[in-house]
């Protein structure tokens, strides 16, 4: 697929005021570099959704201007502008009377594309979001699970290859485990499509995980801080930001790292029927590892085998293994990985690929070591975690 990448989105002194009330958005200026995810986060009444909806003019600004790739959003009729901007909302809003393929084809159809081109594009996008076009294309939205619907929502937003996508709490309506998976999938997708994304959430953890840059808004639509997640966590610009990101800033910093950033420990993968002595030998070659991992024929984890249980000879049977090895993905944040590991007895996690196959191990110690490392801040200097605003100023 030859998708075009993102375009620069710029807010220049943008305001929105309803009547004579307190402004919803107040003199907002910020520039989102092309291909980055900018997360708008803030308490309710901070104007984050209003700010997002002014980009595709579902809400018209009362002052200032917004440009996409240098072009003023007011220079086009609103309907045409919106067809060039992807839009994903929390409730997904799939059209129940259209099949999945037809839902994805909505904007191309509005743009008058020819049928073969629409079909090709639809198949391509469904495959991209991990839904087999042959299986899902002809189904209706009410035959899909919540997570599948959300993926269709993303495919639909990408259909006409827009340079900019707006996402309004897109993963807010799914349970925490599925949300984590959808977030990871979306980040992998973004690596490929490189759109400029304006993403609204009220959840600081989601903001830290998803954002290249975070814009923290406070009541009355005032921009409190606009910076990278690392910089915001290291040096909050105000007491408001510090309170908003929370007292556990150090722990949250773990959300900036991914499992893939760690040096993974080699897996000693074992199948039922292997010789005990041989497995012992392989375990000895890996430093500080006391557990082998029993896997199935697809190399997917089943459970841990303690070195202490590997005495003697003979083949390994399934009873030796303690089931329930926590699994994490390369995209999982270190924070989520840590909490998954702390809940298990062995304190090791299995890193699995997108087909659930074990590719390495992470340990609580390795994550703890990351927590103690200093953070690079926006100006490139290293700063110890826990430096407060007072200390920085």
């Amino acid at each position: 697929m030859q998708d075009t990448g993102g375009a620069i989105v710029a807010f220049e002194h943008v305001s929105k005021q309803y009547g004579s009330a307190e402004p919803a958005v107040n003199d907002l200026s910020l520039t989102i570099p092309a291909g980055e995810i900018c997360v708008l986060v803030g308490p309710s009444g901070s104007g984050k959704t209003t700010t997002m909806k002014m980009v595709n003019r579902l809400i018209e600004p009362t002052g200032g201007r917004i440009t996409i790739g240098g072009e003023d959003v007011m220079s086009l009729p609103a309907v045409e502008l919106r067809r060039r901007i992807g839009y994903v909302i929390q409730q997904v809003g799939l059209f129940p009377h259209l099949t999945i393929a037809e839902n994805v084809a909505v904007v191309p159809r509005l743009l008058g594309w020819k049928a073969p081109r629409i079909r090709k594009r639809t198949d391509e996008l469904l495959a991209l979001v991990g839904l087999e076009p042959g299986t899902f294309g002809a189904r209706y939205p009410n035959e899909l699970s919540g997570g599948e619907r959300q993926r269709v929502g993303v495919a639909r937003a990408l259909a006409a290859d827009p340079p900019v996508m707006l996402m309004d709490e897109p993963f807010g309506a799914v349970d925490p485990i599925r949300r984590d998976r959808l977030q990871n999938e979306f980040l992998r997708l973004q690596e490929q499509v490189r759109k400029t994304i304006v993403f609204v959430t009220h959840d600081v953890d989601e903001a830290i995980k998803m954002a290249d840059r975070i814009a923290i808004l406070q009541r009355g639509g005032i921009l409190a801080q606009y910076d990278t997640p690392a910089a915001i966590l290291a040096t909050p610009a105000s007491e408001f930001v510090e309170r908003f990101v929370g007292a556990d800033r150090g722990l949250k910093r773990l959300s900036l790292g991914r499992v893939r950033d760690l040096d993974l420990i080699e897996v000693v993968a074992v199948r039922v029927g292997e010789d005990r002595g041989g497995v012992r030998g392989r375990l000895d070659r890996v430093e500080e590892l006391d557990y082998a991992l029993l896997v199935d024929d697809e190399h997917r984890p089943i459970g841990w085998i303690d070195r202490a249980d590997l005495t003697g000879g003979g083949p390994i049977n399934a009873d030796v293994a303690t089931p329930g090895a926590p699994t994490v993905e390369p995209e999982t944040t270190l924070r989520d990985a840590l909490s998954a590991l702390l809940g298990s007895s062995v304190q090791l996690g299995v890193v699995v690929d997108d087909r659930g196959r074990a590719i390495g191990l992470v340990s609580v110690d390795a994550i703890g070591a990351r927590l103690r490392a200093p953070v690079p801040s926006a100006d490139g200097t290293l700063r110890e975690v826990g430096d407060s605003v007072e200390a920085a100023s």
Partner: protein, 220 residues
């Protein structure tokens, strides 16, 4: 009734097939005309109520009041305007469908989920495109449900137009049946009326399923 007279005079039915057929087709025509015109008028009223939400209450009050007028009284009110004609019959029947159809169409359109409307706006549907391509198709099952009620009601109501010389199957029931005390004619009229109502209901249900396959699809 003669003591020797059989319960049903099949010979009468056989001799009057043409007459019965003609009354039946008259009945069907009046139902189809009334429901169609009633639907078009109600749809127009529903569009008005959508555009000017404050008019909804007044339209509902007026159509509700009309619905409450006894049919004979309604004929008396209409005869000075349209005489003893088919027009009078159809106008009366149309007026009776308005309450059911108007309220159903409005309810159906209001039932379109707000997130669907927001998604449609965000993707760049114009207001008219959004109405015809998104809102109306989603509202269709409830709209057709209203059509079914209106059709079945109208099939019953046509019989009373006998009093202005029409009546379709009502003619068999009231004129040749009740007035001349000839039960066979009543049975034939009632039976055909019921059959017609059942068939129309099934037919519309089938139509609805054909038009909205998505409403039948369920997980699993």
């Amino acid at each position: 009734m003669n003591e020797n007279e059989p319960f049903i005079r099949f010979d009468w039915i056989a001799n009057n097939v043409d007459e019965i057929g003609q009354r039946l087709s008259e009945h069907v025509l009046m139902v189809v005309a009334s429901v169609l015109i009633g639907f078009v008028v109600s749809f127009g009223l529903a569009l008005v109520a959508r555009r000017f939400p404050r008019s909804y209450g007044s339209i509902l009050a007026v159509t509700g009041t009309i619905y409450a007028i006894p049919s004979l009284a309604l004929f008396v009110l209409l005869i000075p305007l349209t005489g003893l004609s088919v027009t009078t019959g159809v106008v009366a029947l149309v007026l009776y469908t308005l309450l059911i159809l108007f309220r159903n169409i409005v309810t159906a359109l209001e039932g379109v989920p707000p997130d669907v409307i927001e998604a449609a706006n965000g993707m760049g549907y114009g207001p008219a495109q959004r109405f015809w391509r998104v809102e109306l198709p989603i509202a269709l099952p409830i709209v057709v449900a209203g059509l079914r009620i209106a059709t079945v009601t109208t099939i019953g109501l046509v019989t009373i137009t006998t009093f202005i010389g029409l009546g379709g199957l009502g003619y068999l029931i009231i004129n040749s049946g009740t007035r001349r005390f000839f039960p066979t004619s009543i049975y034939v009229g009632v039976l055909l009326c019921v059959l017609l109502a059942v068939l129309a209901d099934i037919g519309l249900l089938w139509l609805q399923r054909r038009l909205t396959p998505w409403a039948q699809a369920r997980q699993g």
